[in-house]
């Protein structure tokens, strides 16, 4: 699927990864433009429901990134987020949602290069996987005329 341009949504924390992404820009490092960044005060505020909404509205891949453990501006936001991601990710895997399409990472405000690598790597792997048709089919499934089991 070489010519497929995946749509990636990135949920990032404002203090570290967003600042890191800024640094990527100011240091003129090129990275794939498929990613749409959504800024959050903290990874602790990234709700699992938003990830599902992203897939439902047509995202092919998701990046969730925030401060390294012990770096959190609010001291424990990323710890809570980590525990939440561990449980949410295993539920998604159990239900058959393709967890290869959700990349979790810690990117600090100084790691501009790492942010570019993560985005490029994610875009490449999602391009390999192709569009997330399974989820799109369920999300866009026209309300079945007669909805029997």
């Amino acid at each position: 699927m070489a010519d497929f341009e995946p749509r990636i949504v990135a949920f990032v924390c404002n203090w570290c990864t967003y600042a890191g992404a800024d640094l990527t820009g100011t240091s003129r490092i090129k990275y794939a433009s498929n990613v749409r960044i959504v800024r959050f005060p903290c990874t602790g505020r990234i709700d699992y429901m938003l990830l599902l909404k992203a897939f439902a509205e047509g995202a092919d891949g998701i990046i969730v990134s925030g401060c390294h453990p012990n770096d959190c501006h609010y001291t424990s936001g990323n710890f809570h987020a980590r525990r939440r991601w561990i449980m949410f990710r295993s539920l998604c895997d159990f239900m058959g949602i393709d967890t290869r399409r959700i990349k979790f990472s810690w990117v600090s405000a100084a790691e501009g290069a790492k942010w570019a690598d993560i985005v490029n790597a994610t875009v490449a792997s999602i391009r390999e996987l192709g569009p997330y048709d399974d989820y799109k089919r369920v999300a866009k499934k026209p309300v079945k005329e007669v909805t029997h089991g």
Binding site: M49, H80, L91, D93, F94, G96, T147, G149
Partner: protein, 266 residues
């Protein structure tokens, strides 16, 4: 269960409690919840292996709570639910008296919820064999097979919310599903709406579910939605050493350990 009836009669006669919640004969051989307020009605109380409905769902219900102090005939799952509700400040020693029924069907009366807690902690939350086997079967499938399994199982769901209504832990006066600003979960029961609802239910019960199967028994369509909450019990054990309802205990999903282990964050 004569000693249960005798004890219930005494409690009501001395008006130490205003209502005794237990089981009575239902329709077509089923059993159902019974709310006894008058001493002479206590002889309708029964207990046998058919009594599996989780009665703890009624101790947070306005119409029952307002009657005054409640006594409840509680099997092990019901006791676990009571302790989890106590840890979430929904019940306390002033408004609840627990008439415990041990797995050997013996009546044990507890004077306080902490006594119930020590009794509950003698037993681990164990997934029964049949469901364990189903979880392993699903584990061996590929993700797309699991996706097909779950989208097929959840497709007939018509969102009657019996799974939510029957669960003692679903006592919120206004559930996330009932909010429309923002409309987190779509109201219609199309495939996306069903998927998002059942994921939300499993997440909101993570670390709180006591694996009592009330949701599965309540589903009119027999959807195996208790597998989702059972999986979260398993994952909690695998990742964080499991949990036990504890009145003063830490809640799994609202606490953390700095050294929580994971292998997927780069």
């Amino acid at each position: 269960m004569d000693d249960l009836r005798k004890r219930a009669r005494e409690l009501l006669e001395t008006s130490e409690v205003k209502v005794v919640i237990g089981y009575e004969q239902g329709t077509a051989g089923k059993t159902r919840a019974l709310f006894v307020e008058k001493p002479e009605d206590t002889d309708k109380l029964i207990f046998d292996s058919r009594c599996v409905q989780n009665l703890a769902v009624y101790i947070t219900k306005r119409e029952v709570k307002d009657k005054g102090k409640m006594a409840i005939a509680a099997t092990l799952p019901v006791m676990r639910s009571i302790i989890q509700l106590a840890s979430e400040f929904q019940v306390n020693d002033n408004n609840l008296l627990v008439l415990g029924i041990t797995p050997e069907s013996k009546l044990v009366e507890f004077n306080s919820l902490t006594e119930v807690e020590t009794f509950v902690h003698q037993y681990q939350i164990e997934i029964d064999a049949r469901n364990k086997e189903m979880l392993d079967k699903l584990e061996k499938m590929t993700p797309s097979e699991r996706w097909k399994f779950w989208t097929d199982e959840l497709a007939p769901c018509f969102k009657c919310y019996a799974c939510r209504a029957a669960c003692p832990m679903c006592y919120c006066s206004r559930c996330t599903v009932d909010f429309n600003q923002p409309q987190w979960i779509p109201v219609p029961s199309h495939e996306l709406g069903n998927l998002e609802w059942h994921i939300m239910r499993a997440i909101h019960l993570t670390g709180r579910c006591v694996d009592c199967d009330a949701c599965y028994n309540a589903c009119p369509l027999g959807i195996p939605l208790n597998l989702l909450t059972k999986k979260m019990v398993e994952e909690a054990r695998a990742n964080f050493g499991g949990y036990q309802p504890a009145i003063k205990g830490e809640h799994l999903m609202s606490t953390y350990k700095p050294d929580d282990k994971e292998n997927f964050i780069q």
